[in-house]
Symmetry: C2
Subunit: 144 residues, 2 copies
C-alpha cells in the first residue's frame, strides 16, 4: 500500500470508525452505518444469516431500525493492527426498544470488528460478529 | 519476524490448525484442543463469558466435554492473511449429544477464527467467536 505504517494514526482512525458506527446505530441512521462498512463487508448477527455487501447491509439495517431503536455502548475496546487489516475486541451492553411498543430488551456480550485499510487510506469494517453473555438457549451447542 | 512471507505455506499451516482443532473437539480431547490455542488466547462462546488463557480454556473444554459430545463440521472456510495475523471466516453445522442422555441439539451458524504467528513460526488461535443462524431469542438486540 502507499501508506506508511503509523500505528497511532491507524488506531485513532479505527477508533473513530468504531465510535461513528456506534453513534449511527444508536441514531437508527442506516446511511451513516453504511459509511463505516467496506463495500464487500459481511455482518454476522446472532440468530440471522450473514449479510454481505452494501446493498444487503442497507436493507438489513433499515429493517432493524424499523423494528427497534437501540442504545449500544462498548464497555471495552482493544484494537490490534496487522498491516492493512486490524481487529477490535469489544464488550458491549445493549438495550433495544420495540418501535411497536412493549418491553425493552437488555443484552450484554462481546464481539469482534475486523477492518481493512482501503485504497484511499481510510479504514472500513469488513466483518462484525458478536454474541450474548446471557444464559444458553437449548439449541446452542458449545455454550453452557 | 524471522519467517519469510510464504502465503501458500501459511494458509496450509492455518488450515491444518483449524482441522486439528475440529477433530479434537469432535473427539472430546481437551489437551489436543489446547494445542491449537495460543497461551493468551480468548474463546468467545455464545451465552457464556469470554474465557482467556490456557488454564481457563482447559477448564472450559473439560467442562464442555463432560456434559456433551459434539460433531462440528465446517461447511465453508476462507482464510485471509495479514502479516503475522490471519482471519478465518467459517460456517458450521453442529450436533451436541448430552452425556446424561436426552435429545441431541442441532445448530448451524458462522464464526471467526483469529490466528497469530508465534515466535517459533507456528500459527495458533488467539480468538474464536461464533453464533447461531437459528431464530432470535427475545433478549438478543440486533438479531431479527
Amino acid at each position: 500500500m502507499a501508506y506508511t505504517a503509523n500505528p497511532d494514526r491507524d488506531r485513532a482512525a479505527i477508533a473513530k470508525v468504531s465510535s461513528t458506527l456506534l453513534q449511527a446505530v444508536n441514531a437508527s441512521d442506516a446511511p451513516a452505518v453504511l459509511k463505516a462498512w467496506a463495500a464487500d463487508g459481511t455482518i454476522m448477527p446472532p440468530h440471522h444469516l450473514p449479510v454481505h455487501g452494501h446493498e444487503a447491509l442497507g436493507a438489513y439495517f433499515r429493517d432493524l431500525f424499523a423494528r427497534h431503536t437501540f442504545r449500544f455502548a462498548f464497555t471495552s475496546a482493544v484494537i490490534e493492527l496487522a498491516g492493512d487489516m486490524a481487529f477490535e475486541h469489544l464488550t458491549y451492553t445493549a438495550t433495544a426498544w420495540p418501535i411497536a411498543g412493549g418491553q425493552a430488551l437488555e443484552d450484554c456480550g462481546k464481539g469482534l470488528h475486523v477492518y481493512r485499510r482501503q485504497l484511499d487510506g481510510t479504514w472500513k469494517l469488513i466483518r462484525d460478529i458478536w454474541n450474548s453473555d446471557r444464559p444458553a438457549e437449548p439449541h446452542s451447542p458449545g455454550s453452557r
